[in-house]
């Protein structure tokens, strides 16, 4: 039997009720002014959710607009559609975006993480693009904590189960562990899709009398106020908001994908939008506002899975796997039949009107009438600049002097200890739970960046996420620059040209002036780097309020980088190839320990300044490495990052069945700084001895320092000066099993 929504007497709206909905006095006054009357309870719900941080970006949008958002390859401007869209030639475009699901995952890790994946996939295929890869960026507290272990296991399983069943390969990402993420883990999910230029679907409503169709799962009470929940800090009360976490069904999503792409192909789809945060409310008003139209929607026609739902509940439900379609009048049946083939419900629930009002009815009774434009980002939704203040902690930590840290002289032991650090160790335990190969396009998922080929072309996409929160904590501007640079460097190491980014900005409470300063600075840093490296920002997501009563997370902007390989015969990975090859260090080692994993290990703290970064040098380094790969002069390339060159060399050996004999020149640097310092803009490459001069010439032409630091050897040992001598198999054993042994 069909469930019907009910008309119930609604609570009287006043300032107090508005405040309970998370609105401020000023915002409530603005609503009264816009409407010229007191809103109904349902309307209040609509405004509160649309003006929540999550939907309106009210505390971030002013700064986000300062990011470089245009470039020759961008097909839509950031924020205009469900995800960014980049032209890659051959009549194809890449849709990609990253989004957070931190709060739900902190409370209900399995479903929180799973629905994070589901949401971002829908953003991609609602544009008409078939998802071809998924990535994720995760942050947890220390793994020796039982609660952290629980979150870690369940979040990884949630991501795996959803992506595996849906049939998208999960190809890359990163996982870091630091006490600051103990109660507030970060779960950022990224998805990437491919669409033909003529198959791109828009997220706007146009054409008076065209039909508004809801497709996918029926609507229940799950996730009501999820968006407002995501806009506050995590506290003991959060546990009671567990019902605000949605439940995912990857099987339905898979059907929805196939049916959506088939429907878009007919040419009768005018617009599509995923229902994520704020469900029907957000999709109807945003699509109307974008198309400068209105809508007339009857909630009695919405398939409901529960009895006695009120208009308020139907409008605010965040039930998963639902989408809103605008269908050309007269073609509703054809479209409905496609969904029927895939066993998906599809119902016409209303029509497009002249606008600007979105009218919500239950049968004849009007339950809400709102001006779409006043609700949305870019319309009248609030925009705030908040007060900012340089954080007090900075003065203290920047006083750090390396001399205060005693040097551990057993460098082999330090290397082994670093390899066992969960942030550095192999993430095998994680990524083996993800299907990384389905759709048979994954060239690699274990190199510096993932490579996914595009069938029918010679091209491949290179994909990576990066974001070292510790650097950003120590120096928000430079830390954010480094996040962009590191992701680009990783993409370059597999032979790809970095072309665009998506970002997920995870911060604390923006009403705290110190947090807002961090945010302001980090945006500036991303902006600097994206300009210098010519990788515009195509869109992304902001997640504030990542703090609990006990602690605040490191400000953690995560960058999702897209790179392109024009010819898959010119690709590279990090593994050394043959004995006798030369090992090179490109770039300069300043022995910087500030914010390093080594320092964290030795002292338990984040100290000092983030490493220096010269963006001009960084870009020149890319030019060198890409030229070397294209001319087939190098056989491997591996970025120097967490744990310094010691870790980079070890990782280059793990799949090689070879060894390396290295001779570094310390000059006046401390040896631990030399081995484990994290100076930026460095890449270890290997080459045949015959190509030495040509490599020198190319590096010189770009003014990049290139030094031969050793040779690949037959004997499976890593030898660095007289400081380190270790069997590769022993090191690999530590590296491979560290995370699993933490979980035992």
């Amino acid at each position: 039997m069909k469930n019907h929504p009910v008309i119930k007497e609604e609570p009287v709206v006043d300032l107090n009720l508005a405040k309970q909905h998370g609105l401020t006095e000023e915002e409530y006054a603005k609503i009264l002014q816009i409407m010229g009357r007191v809103p109904t309870y349902t309307e209040l719900g609509i405004y509160s959710v649309m003006w929540s941080e999550h939907c309106s970006y009210k505390n971030s949008i002013a700064l986000l607009k300062t990011l470089p958002r245009s470039g020759k390859d961008l097909l839509v401007a950031a924020g205009e559609e469900n995800a960014g869209l980049v032209d890659i030639g051959d009549g194809l475009a890449v849709a990609f975006k990253i989004e957070s699901h931190n709060h739900p995952s902190a409370i209900e890790p399995y479903q929180g993480a799973a629905t994070g994946v589901g949401g971002i996939l829908r953003d991609i295929f609602s544009m008409g693009a078939r998802p071809i890869a998924a990535l994720n960026s995760l942050r947890f507290g220390n793994l020796d904590d039982k609660r952290v272990q629980y979150l870690f296991k369940r979040i990884v399983k949630g991501i795996g189960d959803y992506g595996n069943s849906f049939g998208v390969p999960t190809v890359a990402g990163e996982v870091y562990f630091d006490p600051c993420y103990r109660t507030n883990p970060l779960v950022n999910a990224m998805a990437v899709g491919i669409v033909e230029h003529n198959g791109i679907a828009k997220a706007s409503a146009s054409g008076k009398d065209n039909s508004v169709m809801i497709v996918g799962s029926s609507t229940g009470r799950d996730g009501i106020h999820g968006a407002t929940f995501a806009s506050e800090e995590i506290s003991e009360k959060s546990e009671s908001k567990r019902p605000a976490v949605q439940v995912g069904d990857p099987f339905v999503e898979k059907l929805l994908l196939e049916a959506t792409l088939e429907a878009i192909k007919t040419g009768y789809i005018v617009g599509v939008q995923d229902m994520g945060a704020a469900g029907i409310t957000c999709s109807t008003t945003e699509m109307s506002a974008r198309g400068q139209t209105g809508m007339d929607v009857d909630l009695a026609k919405v398939p409901l899975r529960e009895t006695d739902m009120t208009a308020y509940e139907v409008m605010l439900s965040e039930s998963q796997e639902r989408m809103l379609f605008i269908v050309k009048k007269g073609h509703e049946e054809e479209i409905a039949n496609i969904f029927k083939k895939w066993d998906i419900e599809a119902e016409v629930i209303g029509k497009v009107t002249d606008g600007p009002m979105v009218k919500i009815r239950i049968g004849e009774k009007i339950v809400a009438e709102v001006n779409a434009e006043t609700l949305v980002l870019g319309g009248s939704a609030p925009i705030y600049y908040r007060e900012k203040k340089v954080p007090a902690y900075l003065a203290d930590i920047q006083k750090f002097d390396i001399k205060s840290v005693p040097e551990e002289k057993n460098y082999s032991k330090s290397l082994q200890k670093l390899l066992a650090r969960p942030s550095i160790a192999s993430k095998r335990w994680v990524y083996q739970q993800y299907d990384s190969m389905v759709r048979t396009n994954t060239i690699t998922s274990t190199a510096d960046a993932a490579l996914v080929r595009i069938k029918g072309t010679k091209k491949a996409l290179a994909l990576k996420t990066d974001g070292n929160g510790r650097y950003v904590y120590l120096n928000p501007r430079r830390g954010a620059q480094i996040a962009v640079a590191e992701s680009a460097r990783n993409v370059v190491c597999v032979g790809a040209r970095p072309i665009a980014i998506t970002n997920c900005l995870n911060f604390g409470n923006p009403y705290d002036p110190e947090v807002y300063w961090q945010f302001f600075e980090a945006i500036g840093g991303i902006s600097d780097a994206c300009k210098a490296l010519e990788t515009p920002v195509t869109g992304g997501n902001v997640s504030f309020y990542n703090e609990s009563t006990e602690e605040s997370i490191y400000p953690t902007p995560v960058i999702g980088m897209l790179g392109i390989v024009d010819d898959v015969s010119n690709i590279c990975n990090h593994t050394f190839k043959s004995a006798g090859d030369l090992i090179w260090e490109l770039g300069i080692n300043y022995g910087e320990l500030g914010g390093s994993e080594y320092l964290q290990m030795q002292t338990g703290k984040a100290y000092g300044d983030a490493p220096k970064l010269d963006l001009v040098k960084e870009k020149a380094l890319y030019d060198v490495v890409l030229e070397l790969i294209q001319k087939k002069l190098i056989k491997s390339a591996h970025d120097i990052a967490d744990g310094g060159i010691g870790i980079t060399l070890a990782e280059s050996l793990f799949e090689s069945k070879l060894g390396a004999s290295i001779d570094l020149v310390a000059k006046d640097l401390r040896i631990d700084c030399l081995l484990f310092g994290e100076s930026q803009s460095r890449i270890v490459v290997s080459s045949s001895a015959d190509d030495k001069q040509r490599i020198m010439d190319i590096a010189q032409r770009h003014k990049i320092q290139a030094v031969v630091i050793g040779k690949v050897t037959k004997e499976e040992k890593l030898v660095i000066n007289e400081w380190i001598e270790a069997n590769v198999s022993d090191l690999k054993n530590i590296y491979d099993n560290a995370i699993e042994s933490c979980l035992k």
């Binding site: 595996n164 069943s165 099987f251 898979k254 739970q433 993800y434 990384s436 190969m437 048979t440």
Partner: protein, 241 residues
Amino acid sequence: MEKIKFGVIVFPGSNCDHDAHYASGQLAGQDSRLIWHKEHSLGDVDVVIVPGGFSYGDYLRCGAIARFSPIMKDVVRFAGKGGIVIGICNGFQILTEAGLLPGVLLRNESLLFVCRNVSIRTENISTRFTGTCQKGEVLNVPIAHGDGNYFAEADTIRKLEENGQVVFRYCDENGRVTKESNPNGSVNNIAGIVNEEGNILGMMPHPERASDALLGLTDGKKIFESIIHSFVSSAQQFAAV
């Protein structure tokens, strides 16, 4: 030679359907088409592939619902008259649920989904799926499953072993069948079996993912080539008669 006609069944929730289609068509150079599960007839096909994925979400037992799909009746009929059927991963699970192959696939012993490359030893080269392999040849092929732990009653296992129905066994890179090389807890490290008549193969590893040099592994090709070759040799036999 005329091309072999592959048919790949598409259930709701299949997600290796396109991969099997690509490997049997584009890569193996044969005719290949997708067959929607609501169809009642396979049409004119020589080989049926039941692909991997999560048919119907696999919320009940894996493959338990898919076997009721309309097309499965015709798959059973096709198999009954000796047609070549290969079930990969979820396809293997579906074939056991449909009673076309003995045994069941349980949760992995680790209780975790596992996706990685494994080595499998070719135990029987006189099947239509392994004719181009060497006896004992070690193939590198990926697995990706949460329920690949093959189990059957002791009697059934004994019969499978005696009849040479165990076609593939998980092993280490040198071909040794060890506990460490068993990724999911399968009885006797079983990775793939055929029915008594030898025309139906079920295997957890994915040969379609190991058929393209660009992606790293190519041993899976041998299984497609063996199937194709088996048609050539049977055609030759007919010609000789």
